[in-house]
C-alpha cells in the first residue's frame, strides 16, 4: 500500500513537472516571437525596481488595505511553499513529517506559522471572492467590461476557490493528524497540537482511527495534487503574474514616460529626403519592413512578456479617461488581446513543428479594433497604475503607427492635421508667415 502511494506520487510529480516544462517552453518561444529590445542596461537600478515593486509590492500598497490583503496571499504563497518541500519528500520517500524529529520544538512553531498564513490566505480569498462577485468594485464587473465576459471572470473565481480548497485541506489535515497523534496511532509522530488546527479537532471527535487515517490521507492527497494542478493551471491562467511579475518589473522601461521610442529606419529616409544625407551609391535598396505593429511578432518581446504578466486586475482600465467616459478602449483588454493572440500563435507553432505559419489573422483587426486605439489620449494613467509595470500605451502607439503609416488609414481630421503640418508647420490651417503676429500688440 505504502509503495503504491509512493509510485503514484512520483508519477504525479513527474507528470506535473513535464507539463509545466512544456508550457514554459511554449510561453518562452512565443515571447521570443517579439522584436529584440535591449533591456539589460542599468542593472542595479533594475534590480532595485524589481525588489521594490515585485518583491516589496510597492504599488499594491497605494491602497493600503488591499495591499495588506494581497501581501498575505503573496507571503502565504511564497512561504507555504517551503512546506511543500517536506510534503514532496514525504510523498516520494513514504515518510510522514520528515523534518519533525530534526527540528524538534521549532517544527511545531514552523507549522504553526504556516497555519497562520493558511488562515490568513483563507480569509483573504473569501474577502476577494466577495469583492469580485459583489458590485462594489466596478472594474471586476463583466456587464461593464466586455473583456471580463466568460473565461476571465471564471478564471478569477476559480483561482480563489482553488486556494480556499487547498487551505481547508491543509488545516483539516493537520487537525486530523493531531487527533491521530492523541490516539497514539502508529505512523503519526508526536509533534504536539498546532497553533490553529487544534481548534478544528472537535470536528473529528468520535471518529475512529481508520476513518481519521483515511481523512488525513485524502486531505494530504487533495492538498498536494491540488498544488500540482495549481502549478499547471497557473501557466494557462492570468495567474502567471506570480512568476512573471519579477522579470517583468526587472525589464521595465526606465526612461521618462513621455518619450516615445524612435524609429531609426525612418530617420535615415527623412535625412535623405531633407538632403542632409546622401544614399550610399552601392547600397541595395533599403528593405523596410512593416511600420509599427500589426501583429504580435511586430511588437517587442517586452510587450509580449507584459501580456503574459497581466493578471487582469483592471486598475489601468479604471484609470483610463477613455474607458471612464464610455469609449471602447480598455488598456486591460489591449493586454488580454495581446496574450490571447500570443496563445493562438503558440498553438499554431506547436501544430507546425515549432514555426509560426501565417493564419491570416492579426492582433489589430481580429482582436484589437481601430476604434480602441484611436481613443487613447496617451495620458499614461494606465502605465502609472499597473502594479507590475506593464505598458499598454507602448502597444497602442505601435498599432497606431501601423494603421497610419502602413495602411495609410487615419481619421480624416488627422489627415487634415498632417497636411497642415506639411504646409504650415502647424496643426491648424494658418499661414506660417502669421506665426509671429501674436506679438503685434506688444511691440
Amino acid at each position: 500500500m505504502e509503495v503504491i502511494q509512493q509510485i503514484l506520487f512520483i508519477v504525479a510529480l513527474g507528470l506535473t513537472a513535464w507539463i509545466i516544462a512544456r508550457r514554459v517552453q511554449v510561453i518562452k518561444r512565443t515571447i521570443q516571437l517579439g522584436r529584440p529590445d535591449d533591456r539589460t542596461d542599468r542593472p542595479a537600478e533594475r534590480l532595485g525596481m524589481m525588489l521594490r515593486v515585485a518583491f516589496g509590492q510597492k504599488k499594491m500598497f497605494e491602497r493600503p488595505l488591499i495591499g495588506i490583503m494581497h501581501f498575505m496571499l503573496y507571503a502565504g504563497f511564497l512561504l507555504i511553499n517551503i512546506e511543500i518541500l517536506e510534503i514532496i519528500l514525504d510523498g516520494a520517500l513514504g515518510q510522514h513529517r520528515l523534518f519533525a524529529p530534526a527540528l524538534g520544538g521549532f517544527y511545531s512553531f514552523l507549522i504553526g506559522f504556516f497555519e497562520f498564513l493558511a488562515v490568513g490566505v483563507l480569509v483573504v480569498c473569501v474577502v476577494f471572492l466577495l469583492r469580485r462577485n459583489g458590485t462594489r468594485v466596478e472594474r471586476f464587473q463583466p456587464p461593464r467590461h466586455r473583456e471580463m465576459h466568460g473565461w476571465p471572470f471564471l478564471d478569477g473565481n476559480l483561482i480563489l476557490i482553488f486556494e480556499i480548497v487547498l487551505m481547508v485541506a491543509i488545516l483539516t489535515m493537520n487537525a486530523a493528524d493531531s487527533a491521530l497523534q492523541d490516539m497514539g496511532s502508529a505512523h503519526y509522530r508526536r509533534t504536539g497540537d498546532f497553533a490553529f488546527s487544534q481548534f478544528l479537532k472537535p470536528l473529528f471527535a468520535g471518529w475512529n482511527e481508520s476513518t481519521l487515517i483515511v481523512y488525513e490521507r485524502v486531505a494530504w492527497w487533495i492538498h498536494i495534487l491540488g498544488i500540482f494542478a495549481f502549478g499547471v493551471y497557473v501557466t494557462y491562467s492570468k495567474h502567471l503574474h506570480i512568476a512573471l511579475g519579477f522579470p517583468n518589473t526587472y525589464f521595465a522601461r526606465l526612461i521618462p514616460r513621455g518619450k516615445i521610442h524612435n524609429m531609426p529606419e525612418i530617420t535615415k529616409e527623412v535625412k535623405i529626403m531633407l538632403g542632409v544625407e546622401q544614399p550610399a551609391a552601392d547600397a541595395p535598396p533599403a528593405e523596410i519592413g512593416r511600420f509599427g505593429a500589426k501583429d504580435v511578432m511586430d511588437l517587442s518581446w517586452k510587450n509580449l512578456m507584459d501580456a503574459y504578466s497581466c493578471t487582469e486586475c483592471g486598475r489601468c482600465t479604471a484609470a483610463c479617461p477613455a474607458n471612464i467616459t464610455g469609449k471602447k478602449l480598455s488598456p486591460r483588454k489591449i493586454m488580454m488581446d495581446t496574450r490571447d493572440r500570443l496563445e493562438e500563435a503558440g498553438r499554431n507553432m506547436q501544430a507546425n513543428g515549432g514555426t509560426f505559419v501565417d493564419d491570416g489573422k492579426s492582433l489589430l483587426g481580429d482582436y484589437i479594433l481601430e476604434e480602441e486605439i484611436l481613443a487613447c489620449t496617451t495620458c499614461n494613467a494606465c502605465v502609472q497604475e499597473c502594479p507590475v509595470l506593464i505598458n499598454p500605451l507602448d502597444i497602442i502607439l505601435q498599432l497606431r503607427r501601423y494603421q497610419v503609416m502602413d495602411e495609410a488609414k487615419a481619421p480624416a481630421a488627422w489627415n487634415a492635421m498632417f497636411s497642415n503640418l506639411e504646409t504650415s508647420q502647424a496643426p491648424w490651417k494658418f499661414s506660417p508667415g502669421d506665426r509671429f503676429n501674436w506679438a503685434n500688440g506688444l511691440k
Binding site: P256, R257, G258, K259, I260, N262, M263, I266, T267, E269, V270, K271, L274, F291, G292, P321, A322, I324, T325, G326, K328, L329, A375, C376, T377, T378, C379, N380, A381, Q384, L397, R400, R401, Y402, Q403, V404, M405, A410, P411, A413, W414, A416, M417, F418, L421, E422, Q425, A426, P427, W428, F430, P432, R435, F436, N437, W438, A439, G441, L442, K443
Partner: protein
C-alpha cells in the same frame, strides 16, 4: 501700465546684433495661433520683460515640434518636423529653451536628442518657480488672488510623463491663494481628453466627453479659478466651463497669466 512697451526680440535679430540670449522662449503652435493661448504667450513675455531676462523667440522660423504627428502614429512627419526645427535651433546655437506647452517641452526634451538635438529644456512652470525662488518674481501680499480658491489641473505631459507636480503648485502658492486639490490629482490626475492628438479629431463614441468628466471634478472643489499649464488643457477646461454655463463665475487661467495678473502686468 498699458503704455509700457515690451520687447520681443527674435533669434535672427539677436544673431544680427551679435548677441546671444540667455534662453529661447519656444512659443509653440497654440501659443502662436490659438487666440486664447496667445494671451498666455503675452503674459509670459511680460513677466520675462519685467524680470529682465535676456530672451528671444524664433518668430516665423519656429515650426510644430511634431508631437501630434508622432502620437497619431505618423513618424515620418514627426521626424521631418523635428529635423527642420533642429536645423534652426542648431543654426542659432541654442542651449536653453523654455516653453509654456508641456507637449513641446516633452518632445524637445526627450525626443529631439535621438535625432541630434540636445538642449536644456524647461517648462514655464519650472522656470517661474525658479524665478520666484530666486526672488526675481515676488507678489506683494499675494496680489489679486489672495485667499481665492484655486484648483490646479495636472497636465499629463508635465505630470506622469515628466514627474513635474510640485513646480506649478509652488507657483500658485506664491499667489497666497487657497489651493484646493481635486480627488484625482498629481499621479492620479485625470487627462483633459486632448492628448495623443485627440485635440485634432472628434472623440470616439462614448457616453461622455473626457473634459466634462474632468470639469465636473474641478467645479466640485468649489474653486473659482482653474489653473492650467498646457494649451490643450486650457481649451478643454474652458470648453468644459462653458458647457456647464459657469463662465461668469469660474475662470480658467494659465500659471503665467495668474502671475502676470497678480503682478499687475
Amino acid at each position: 501700465m498699458a503704455e509700457t512697451t515690451f520687447k520681443v526680440p527674435t533669434m535672427a535679430e539677436m544673431a544680427a546684433a551679435g548677441e546671444t540670449p540667455e534662453v529661447l522662449f519656444w512659443v509653440g503652435c497654440a501659443g502662436s495661433f490659438d487666440d486664447r493661448y496667445k494671451k498666455v504667450t503675452v503674459a509670459f513675455v511680460k513677466i520675462l520683460n519685467k524680470v529682465g531676462i535676456k530672451f528671444a523667440v524664433l518668430g516665423t522660423e519656429e515650426g510644430c515640434t511634431g508631437d501630434p504627428a508622432r502620437r497619431a502614429g505618423n513618424e515620418f512627419l514627426f521626424q521631418m518636423q523635428a529635423m527642420a526645427n533642429i536645423q534652426v535651433l542648431d543654426m542659432y546655437q541654442v542651449k536653453k529653451i523654455v516653453t509654456a506647452c508641456p507637449h513641446c517641452f516633452n518632445t524637445l526634451k526627450h525626443e529631439y536628442p535621438e535625432l541630434g538635438g540636445t538642449y536644456e529644456v524647461l517648462h514655464h512652470s519650472t522656470y517661474l518657480q525658479q524665478l520666484i525662488n530666486e526672488g526675481r518674481v515676488g507678489i506683494k501680499g499675494g496680489g489679486t488672488f489672495k485667499g481665492r480658491r484655486i484648483t490646479f489641473h495636472d497636465s499629463c505631459y508635465l505630470g506622469r510623463a515628466n514627474n513635474i507636480y510640485e513646480a506649478p503648485r509652488e507657483v500658485l502658492e506664491a499667489l497666497d491663494a487657497e489651493l484646493v486639490e481635486m480627488k484625482r490629482s498629481r499621479v492620479k490626475g485625470l487627462c483633459c481628453g486632448a492628448g495623443g492628438a485627440q485635440m485634432f479629431k472628434e472623440p470616439e463614441p462614448g457616453k461622455k466627453d473626457v473634459n466634462i468628466e474632468r470639469i465636473e471634478e474641478a467645479l466640485g472643489t468649489g474653486a473659482d479659478t482653474i489653473a492650467v499649464a498646457c494649451p490643450f488643457c486650457m481649451v478643454m477646461m474652458t470648453d468644459g466651463v462653458k458647457n456647464k454655463e459657469k463662465e461668469d463665475s469660474v475662470k480658467v487661467l494659465d500659471l503665467a497669466e495668474l502671475i502676470a495678473q497678480a503682478e499687475g502686468l
